[in-house]
């Protein structure tokens, strides 16, 4: 049993390192390149400039060129990785001169930093969750869950292919989930604060954590215990924030400047085609013509909160393992569907709880995970990762079938639709008038699925509650 868990972990590592052999975002595409260059550039900035200057526009830090727009923990991580890179080859991170630097040696270095994050953060955190979900040492449930979570192709294709470090923020969030499942509230709040400070997108997960922790506090019988617990959690969160933000807390404008970098309202409601409600509405009713950017942002916040509220209230009132994971799933889907400035990649935040929910609804969640990869196909195709994306998803499906050989018809229809769309998009070029035809179709179909899953998830939460 243990050896098979080990085998699964190494299989995950093998797939990651094999996907690493492929191309990455922005390879050979000056002047802006892609996320790979963004990460390298952050290393350049953090290694060469003082902490206070990291988020500030200056002659040494052109924020228009991949300016740092993730929270401080990402910056510190870039700093450490940048230092390492500098030790290997100073040209990796030379100020100004290293822009667009790429070489096989550098690729190897960058790829191995992602794999290192997988080994150190993501995979152990997944293992922790799987162990917490299934404490028995018998039975294949744990193996099934762990095997599928480690080889889920969506996260691998984005992190080890496209190039990002979602594994760190997702891993920290998963560690927090594991802590919640074991009832370790303080550890959970610490890890979740770290996750939030690595990527602000972790806000997608924040409401269920908040509801759960608050519920656990209110649940205390004595008022004193309530206050003690609440203040301890508050202290942990605030202290962690304070330590991480200390270089910018000296002056208010500076701190606000960082915040502005993290929440760039000016960038519009969405950039590329993304499988959420606004992009789908935009097909028939052009949002940008009718609404100002600020108005749009308010509409988004309102809709997101309304959509996320029911599941979190249910969680607040009745806190169970399954309820918590369902709330995470529903809330992150609500954020994905309705919030402002959504990226295709952020579906990974909903995929994380979906992976753990495989234990309860294997067939449904498999479909969700496959749709999540499907929704990212246009992005992956741009990075020349279409082949590994398709192959790894099919392989993932087969692996699932190996571990859970059952049958379900509901899924087949969706799978067939997705296969037809993929085949058609490869065979039939989009007409010149609508160059984005296929990405649009893919995002609308994915959006339909996500909406259905959102409704389904909420229903499950309330059915399960009663």
């Amino acid at each position: 049993m243990k050896s098979e868990l080990l085998a699964a972990a190494f299989l995950g590592l093998a797939v990651r390192s094999i996907i690493s052999l492929y191309s990455y975002s922005g390879f050979n595409t000056p002047p802006m390149y892609g996320d790979y260059e963004a990460q390298r550039h952050w290393q350049e900035v953090t290694v060469n400039l003082d902490t206070g200057e990291w988020y500030t526009n200056s002659s040494n830090n052109d924020l228009m060129y991949w300016g740092l727009d993730y929270p401080p923990l990402t910056a510190y991580h870039s700093y450490i990785v940048g230092k390492l890179g500098k030790a290997i080859n100073p040209r990796f991170v030379e100020l100004h001169k290293s822009r667009g630097y790429q070489s096989p040696e550098h690729k190897r270095f960058m790829r191995s930093t992602v794999v290192a994050a997988d080994i150190l953060v993501y995979l152990p955190a997944l293992l922790a969750v799987c162990l917490c979900l299934d404490k028995s040492f018998q039975g294949d449930d744990k193996l099934f869950l762990f095997m599928l979570t480690v080889v889920y192709p969506g996260q691998i294709l984005i992190d080890n292919g496209h190039f990002q470090y979602n594994n760190i923020s997702l891993g920290l969030a998963a560690a927090a989930v594991a802590a919640i499942l074991r009832g370790r509230l303080y550890i959970a709040s610490f890890f979740f604060t770290l996750a939030l400070n690595y990527k602000q997108m972790e806000l997608y997960h924040s409401l269920p954590f908040f509801a759960f922790l608050l519920g656990e506090c209110v649940n205390q019988e004595r008022f004193g215990a309530f206050v003690a617990r609440l203040s301890r959690i508050g202290a942990i969160v605030l202290a962690t924030f304070a330590i991480l933000w200390s270089p910018w807390l000296g002056s208010l404008p500076r701190a606000l400047g960082v915040l502005q970098r993290l929440f760039p309202v000016a960038r519009g409601v969405f950039e590329d085609k993304v499988a959420n409600v606004w992009c789908a509405i935009n097909v028939v009713w052009k949002l940008k013509k009718h609404l100002l950017n600020d108005q749009m942002a308010l509409v988004c916040i309102g809709c997101t909160l309304i959509a996320a509220l029911p599941t979190n209230i249910a969680l607040f009132r009745r806190r169970t393992q399954l309820g918590f994971l369902l709330a995470l799933f529903n809330t992150s889907l609500a954020f994905f569907l309705f919030s402002f400035q959504v990226h295709e990649k952020t579906i990974l935040l909903a995929a994380l709880p979906a992976l753990f929910l495989l234990k309860w609804w294997p067939n449904e969640m498999l479909l969700f995970l496959e749709v999540s990869v499907f929704s990212m196909l246009p992005l992956l195709a741009r990075d020349k990762l279409l082949l590994p994306a398709l192959v790894s998803t099919v392989t993932f499906h087969l692996l699932f079938k190996c571990l859970r050989p059952e049958h379900s018809h509901m899924r087949n229809i969706s799978n067939i639709v997705m296969i037809i769309i993929v085949a058609a998009s490869l065979l039939i070029p989009a007409p010149a008038r609508f160059p984005d035809l296929w990405p649009l179709i893919i995002s609308v179909i994915s959006c339909g699925h996500f909406v259905l899953f959102f409704v389904w998830g909420n229903c499950q939460h309330f059915v399960f509650k009663s």
Binding site: L6, L11, A14, S17, S20, C402
Partner: protein, 506 residues
């Protein structure tokens, strides 16, 4: 448990496709060159053409196979078919050649299916699943075929088909398949004695009358020789040239990277002795294919290796000849393994890849017998590890270790699933297996810390082959005694350990 065979086929195919952009060795160019030669030149030039240094040195059926591939390659990228276009590797060429390996692996899939059926494993059993996993996702084949680049998959497919026929007692089919296999790649001669003895004993001599024996013999010879006639017929006037290509004894005792066999230890011992006695020179490990002169120990010649190999094959062949009909399939499989292993351990200019000839048939025995499984696990640890030097590209370091670890860990899990209450290993066997962790640690970390990476660049290779060689010899000795029934299969440790010592001091 459902029949998950085809699921596993899909998973392994997926993994192979993902590996397409991985580093490939010069064997890729070797096979491209053969495509070009067979496509562009008349038959009588195939075995004399020498524009590229990678001349055609496989038997004719393989050349025909390359010709067949080239008929498709024409439509993919005709430039890969020019003999003078050395080192050509356009994207289309890479995808074509890689996919050709993946597609021809279908023969391997059929071979696996046939063999597992012949062993009498129910399709929904744990053994069938484990066997399919061990063979279809075999990490050695993935390393050698799908990263390094060769066409072993379909050849092993033919081998497994032949073994399957033999176990099902369809002897002529078995002989035919094996003869075809020899005409694809003559390295399978390693295990030919086992096939020969088995067919002679249980097909020819099993007949009731002398006339029956004679007719069986004639049938067997006719079936067995016809592939040779078809393959070599067109080259009958050039036989010396062809044979010179097939058996290049000008190469040295050991390959550039020492295969983990007896001669690796012999060379190492020579080196140590030379440095102790301050004799200049010592056996080379400099990475060149050349003849080696030993400085202290006697220099080895091809006939000596040949005789040693045959001598070590004899006991198990005798055992096979004298075994009962009921026992014979099991003994046959063990003789195949031990014949291959003898050739691997004592052969002339053995490649590290040849360990697959032992490891793949061993997968079959892993499924049916607890003690065989125990030995096979030790060899798997050493044997698959010894393939690492083939994958020396730094981009492949993490893939190679993680694929290996995943495979051996999964194998370990399967042993406990197949054999409830599996006995496990002795302390020193564990220590030996865990010792393999030290080699990567040295190669990637300690050598740099100690500053030895520049001074002794070949030390990791040497460590790998000598340390894995110890395991191979331990397996060879222990498993041989076990297969002969000399240590009864229980408390194997004492006997095998002494065998190991005996071999080392030889």
């Amino acid at each position: 448990m459902k029949d998950l065979f085809w699921h596993l086929v899909g998973i392994s195919t997926g993994l192979k496709i993902l590996l397409i952009p991985a580093y490939h060795s010069t064997d890729f160019e070797v096979h491209r060159n053969w495509l070009a030669i067979t496509h562009s030149l008349p038959l009588n030039r195939w075995y004399v053409e020498a524009t590229s240094e990678w001349t055609l040195d496989y038997p004719p059926l393989f050349a025909y196979f390359e010709w067949l591939l080239s008929q498709v390659a024409r439509y993919v990228d005709p430039r890969m078919l020019e003999v003078s276009n050395l080192g050509y590797e356009s994207k289309a060429t890479v995808y074509f050649q890689r996919l050709s390996v993946i597609v021809t692996d279908l023969v391997y899939v059929l071979g696996v299916r046939s063999c597992l059926g012949a062993l009498g494993l129910a399709r929904d059993s744990q053994q069938h699943f484990a066997g399919a996993m061990l063979l279809l996702l075999n990490v050695g084949l993935i390393f050698v075929d799908h990263i390094h680049f060769q066409y072993n998959g379909f050849l092993f497919g033919i081998l497994l088909l032949s073994i399957g026929y033999l176990i099902r007692q369809r002897f002529l089919w078995s002989a035919f398949a094996f003869a075809v296999l020899l005409n694809f790649k003559h390295i399978f001669l390693y295990m030919a004695p086992a096939f020969g003895v088995y067919l002679l004993r249980f097909y020819c001599l099993e007949q009731a009358s002398v006339a029956g024996m004679a007719s069986a013999m004639i049938k067997l010879l006719a079936v067995g020789l016809s592939p040779f006639a078809v393959a070599f017929g067109p080259f009958v006037k050039q036989l010396p040239e062809v044979l010179a290509r097939l058996f290049p004894f000008k190469r040295g005792l050991t390959h550039a990277y020492w295969a983990p066999n007896f001669w690796a230890l012999y060379n190492a011992a020579d080196k140590v002795a030379a440095s102790l006695m301050r004799v200049p020179g010592g056996a080379t490990s400099s990475g060149l294919v050349q003849e080696v002169k030993h400085s202290v120990l006697p220099t080895i010649t091809p006939p000596m290796t040949f005789i040693l190999t045959l001598v070590f094959m004899l006991p198990i062949l005798v055992k096979l000849f004298r075994s009962s009909k009921k026992q014979s399939p099991l003994v046959f499989l063990r003789s195949v393994i031990l014949c291959s292993c003898s050739s691997f351990v004592f052969g002339w200019h053995v490649h590290e890849k040849a360990i697959l000839l032992v490891l793949i048939p061993l997968c079959l025995l892993t499924l049916v017998n607890r003690e065989d499984a125990r030995y096979s696990y030790i060899l798997a640890i050493a044997g698959y590890f010894s393939l690492f030097p083939l994958l020396f590209d730094p981009d492949l370091f993490i893939p190679r270790y993680s694929l290996y670890m995943s495979y051996v860990a999964m194998l370990y899990g399967q042993l406990y699933r197949i054999f409830p209450g599996f006995r496990g290993f002795h302390v020193w066997e564990w220590l030996y297996m865990l010792g393999f962790l030290v080699i990567p640690l040295y190669e990637h970390l300690l050598s740099f810390v100690l500053g030895l990476d520049k001074r002794l660049p070949f030390l990791p290779l040497l460590l790998t082959s000598v340390y894995a060689g110890l395991g191979v010899l331990y397996f060879f000795g222990g498993y041989y005694l076990y297969a002969l029934g000399l240590n009864g299969g229980n408390k194997a440790a004492g006997g095998t350990a002494s065998v190991k010592r005996k071999r080392k001091t030889k």
